[in-house]
Each structure stands twice: as structure tokens, then as C-alpha cells.
Symmetry: C2
Subunit: 343 residues, 2 copies
């Protein structure tokens, strides 16, 4: 507990018999300063282990080098992946990431925004909650001159840059993959109709069917409300009760696919031979479940990296214009649940 007072510029200046401002400038190798002086000060600083007082610097520059990051859930494979990417990228430029979660409640999201505001982050990255249909609490950041970027779950009408996954392409490639496996009756367990990501995946699904002359049939569609395993199980049972059940199912999410797999196992239906399955998000569980699950990877880490990088660019250069929308491509990860052995 030495609790030694930290060395300040003033100390250096006094010890070296120069002024504080000279010391300050020397440390950043200001062109006005003589080489010798610069060396002298730098040596002294190195020797005595001088560390500038960041709090003072930030105060002086009225910034914190903190970036707020609000996600619906922290304990969630995709979001923690995004966070991981954000943190790693932010660190490179000396920024910190302050994480907060909304638990998918609007009220919590608003509180999180206020907290972020109060701890005066320099900018904000946000993935909105399921309940957020209006972004006044987000616009306040803009009002304060703090840049904001939305990612993944976005509010489309909000005039704020967005980093998203190309869900359309994801839906398309998932479906096309099933078609390529020879499936003809491809069902889709979709998400809520008012959620953008879900709609895009559906559009991709439809386009793929259309491109391959497969008719779209309403009986092969179900909409999840809570995006749960139970819904997957239940809907799969409904599909099986159809006169002409599907031979493949594309699920809005891996968790739903898990429910589907359970239902099929219960009935003793073989995957992928009788029914092939594709999920979405490529969670950890996709590798773990048996049979392992073909899924669409959303590059969460990359999304975190990209969002942070753009925000920091804006922070360091007011004139930088963040592109309005950045779409990351998805990647089809093929596993056992969808690959039919060639007959």
C-alpha cells in the first residue's frame, strides 16, 4: 500500500528545471521543441515511469474514451460474440466498451441509455429491444453530439447508421442449400412478422423457392412468437400432421431447430434423410446437438469490430460520414442435419 503520489508534469518540469508546457510538448515531440529537450524529458519520463493522468486529459478534452454498448441480452452466444469483437477492436485505439443490457424491455433500455448518458460515453452502439418502436431515447445522444450506430436488431425508421447482417441472403442460401440437397417441400418456421430480420429471412426463402420453380405454400409456414424450442417442437408436429409433410425445414433460429429435431426424434423420423434441417445464427449448440446442425453464421465478432471501428472513426474525425447501412454477408455452415447421402 505504498500509495505514492503519481508523478505529474509539474514534477517533471521542476526536476528538470523547465516549464510544464515545455515538458508537455516535449513528450509529444512537438516540432517547436529542441531535440535535446525532447530526449531529456522522454528519458526522464521513462526512467521515472511517468503515466499521464488520463482523467485529467479526458477532462481537458471533454471526452471519456468510453463507448456505450447496449444489447438485449448479455448471456447470449451471438451478442457476447459481438461484444467480444467490439472490445478487442476498441482496445486498439484506447477506447473502452461499457456494456449494458435491456433484457429486451423498453424500460430497461431507456434506463441503460440514461446511464450511458450520465457516465457520458463518447458514442453509442445499440441493438434494440423487442419492445422498441420509437427511438427518442436514442436520438438524445445525437442531440448531445454523440454519434450512434445501430447493429443487428435495428429500428429502421431511426435516422442512425446501421450495421446488419444480410438476412435476405442468409435466408436465400439456407433455402438454396436445401434445394440443392434435392428437397422439394421446404417448410419455414419464421419469426414475428413485425421484426425486420425475420422478414428478410422469409424474403430470401421465398426468392430461393421462386428461382427454382418451387411453389410457395402457406401450409409450410409457421410464425414464432417467442422464438423458443417449444415452438419449434410444436410446429414440427403440426407439419407432420399435414397430408403431405415437408421434407426439409428452415428455422429462424438454431433454438427453434433444436425443438424441431426433438419432435423428429420422438417420432423416430431420420434427419436428414427423411427431413433435412437448417437453423440460423450458428450458435454453439449447432455443433453440439446431434445430429449437428447446419446453420447460417452471422459473423458476430466481425459485426462488433466493424461497428466499433466506424464509431471511432467518426469520433476521431467529425467530418467522417458513417455509411448509412452496412450489410455483412452470412456464411452457410454445413453440418450433418442437412446433407443427404447421394442415393
Amino acid at each position: 500500500m505504498s500509495e505514492r503520489r503519481k508523478l505529474t508534469l509539474k514534477d517533471i518540469a521542476k526536476d528538470l528545471g523547465i516549464s510544464v508546457s515545455t515538458a508537455s510538448r516535449a513528450l509529444k515531440a512537438h516540432p517547436d521543441i529542441a531535440q535535446e529537450t525532447i530526449q531529456m524529458v522522454k528519458d526522464y519520463a521513462a526512467k521515472h515511469n511517468y503515466v499521464p493522468n488520463i482523467i485529467a486529459v479526458n477532462f481537458r478534452k471533454s471526452r471519456t474514451k468510453n463507448i456505450g454498448l447496449i444489447v438485449p441480452e448479455l448471456v447470449h452466444h451471438f451478442f457476447s460474440t459481438v461484444i467480444s469483437g467490439s472490445i478487442d477492436e476498441a482496445k486498439k485505439s484506447g477506447y473502452n466498451i461499457l456494456v449494458s443490457q435491456s433484457n429486451d424491455f423498453l424500460a430497461d433500455e431507456i434506463v441503460a441509455c440514461k446511464t450511458m448518458m450520465a457516465s457520458s460515453v463518447d458514442g453509442l452502439l445499440i441493438s434494440i429491444s423487442n419492445e422498441t418502436y420509437d427511438g427518442d431515447h436514442i436520438l438524445e445522444f445525437i442531440d448531445e453530439g454523440k454519434p450512434v450506430i445501430q447493429f443487428d436488431k435495428i429500428l429502421e425508421k431511426l435516422p442512425v447508421p446501421k450495421v446488419i447482417v444480410d438476412d435476405f441472403e442468409g435466408g436465400y442460401s439456407a433455402t438454396k442449400h436445401l434445394i440443392d440437397q434435392g428437397c422439394k417441400r421446404i417448410a419455414h418456421i419464421a419469426g414475428r412478422k413485425d421484426v425486420l430480420n425475420a422478414c428478410e429471412r422469409m424474403k430470401g426463402y421465398k426468392k430461393a423457392l421462386n428461382d427454382h420453380q418451387i411453389p410457395f405454400k402457406e401450409e409450410y409456414i409457421r410464425y414464432c412468437e417467442s422464438i423458443s424450442e417449444e415452438e419449434g417442437e410444436q410446429f414440427m408436429e403440426e407439419f407432420l400432421a399435414l397430408p403431405n409433410p415437408p421434407d426439409a425445414v428452415f428455422c429462424i433460429t438454431d433454438l427453434v431447430a433444436l425443438g424441431v429435431i426433438k419432435a423428429l426424434k420422438n417420432k423416430g423420423i431420420s434427419i436428414p434423410d427423411q427431413i433435412a434441417i437448417v437453423g440460423f445464427s450458428n450458435w454453439k449448440l449447432a455443433e453440439i446437438v446431434s445430429p449437428s446442425l447446419t446453420s447460417i453464421d452471422q459473423h458476430g465478432y466481425q459485426m462488433g469490430v466493424v461497428a466499433v471501428r466506424m464509431l471511432i472513426q467518426k469520433l476521431e474525425d467529425k467530418n467522417f460520414e458513417i455509411p448509412d447501412t452496412l450489410e455483412l454477408k452470412t456464411r452457410l455452415v454445413i453440418r450433418d442435419s442437412s446433407v443427404k447421402v447421394k442415393a
Copy 2:
């Protein structure tokens, strides 16, 4: 982009014809100040939406209200649960959590510590990497007068308070549960002998056997190096090759248990009837896998809450003494992989 300059105490003072310090004191209802003045200032502040400049306040008080949190891995069910608890608890007192990950490398951990130091967090919570056998980089915080708390993966010799799970009790109750199910030949796939948590679980296992007059047999023990699914699979195969294979396996972690389950499925051995399984950590996968996995829950959220709470207490009151070791009890979560149907 109004970019309006924020209201400061000076503005309030000038508008109200009082001094800055009076305004400052009035806002915190200092006893010296007249009730009327307090009212007047507070009303004015409320009306004009005055928000103190946190950066200035922190500078003045030379603190950041940021707490560093270093974990081996961010994308990890247990650690993200801990983080979630920390963040929620910290928010209550107006603290922020800065998360960093070591990827289980000592070098990364040291860098993370330096970064934390540089962004001058007020205190540190750390769960060490697998490679950390020496804590000089951690002690630096103490030297700077910044309190530190270790949690979960700890360096025992470090004279720094610890919040841990009672692994001994966890190992004991997992084993006892298997004994209660009628198992007589209980194997244990353990962790590295030099990792504290793993040793404690082993001790609990041995004690439970001993308390129930079951002999400990070295042939039923295996030690993981990387704590992976593959190791679980391989060790289970080794067990099965024994002249007298076990009728139950207690695994150091759910992931290892998953490998064990795979091996058993491959051989067509029924779980739990022929061999019962218990994991440890109660990850998400424990619910998901089939059969669902009995496991030991470590109360990650609670651990985050407790660690933060103690650190903040110390921060707000220098005289507060953080207890040297706090052990959280585990909880046995019984699922299908271990419950034998009564004959």
C-alpha cells in the same frame, strides 16, 4: 445536431446572481445553505435540465467510477453470466464495468491489466488465465491503491480477496447424488492437478466415496489437459475398455460430459440406466443435450453481484475490509442423465 453547449454551474450561478460554490452546495442540499436558496437552485436546475459534468467531477475526485473486469473468455456461458451480474450490480451505484478478456493467455492478461491501469479504473475484478502462476501485474493495482478481488479462477498465493465457488461441496454433492442413485463404481474425469478448482472437486468426490464406504480406485480416474469434448469421449472409451467399467461418471465440466455422452451413444449404452452422468457448471448445453444433463450450478450471476458489491464497498469506504475468502455454495440441478428409474 443542436450541439448546444451544456449548462454549467457557472451559468446557473450567473443567472441566479449567486456564486458557483453556493450553487454547487445547494444542489447537494448542503446543511449550511438556506432552504430557499436550495429550492431556487434546484428548481432552476430542473427547469433547465442541468446535468453535472461527470468528467469534471471524476477529475476533481480523481476517480473514474469504472471497475475493470478481466475474464479468460467473454464468449462463455459461465463468465458472461458473471459479467451480467457484475454489470447489473455496478449500475445500482453508478459504476461502470469495463470488460476485458485474456483468452487464457498470460500475455493477454498482462496487456489487459495495463490497459485497465491506463484507463485508470478504480478497482479490478479478475479471474486469472490458465497460464498465470504469478501475480505481479495484479499487485500493481494494489500498489496504486486500487482494490482488487479475484473470482472463480484464482491464484491462491496472491494476497488478494477471493470470491469462489465451493468446488469441494460441488464435487461432493455430485458424487453423493450418484451414490444415492445406487451407483457403485463411480468414475471421475478430472481437470488438471495444478488447477485449484479441479482439485477441490476431486477432493469432494473422494470424500463422498469415503463417507459411503466406496473404495477410491485410480483406474476410474482420468485427468483432462484441455477440458474438451474430445477428451471426454476418449476417456469414456478407455473406461469402457476396463474389465469392470464404471456405472457412473462425474465430469469436471459439462463439455467433457458431452463427449462422454457421445461415446456412450456410439456404443449404444443407455444413459442413465447403464451409466449415469453428472457434469459441472450447468451451462446452457446441459438443458439442450439429450438426454439432458444433471449438473452443478455455480451461481455465476450471484458471483458477479457479490464481487462487485464488495469492491464498491471498499471503494466507498477505505476502512472496509473485504473478507479474505467468500465461498458460494453450489446447487445440484438434477436432469435425465443421472436419475435411475426405481426398479
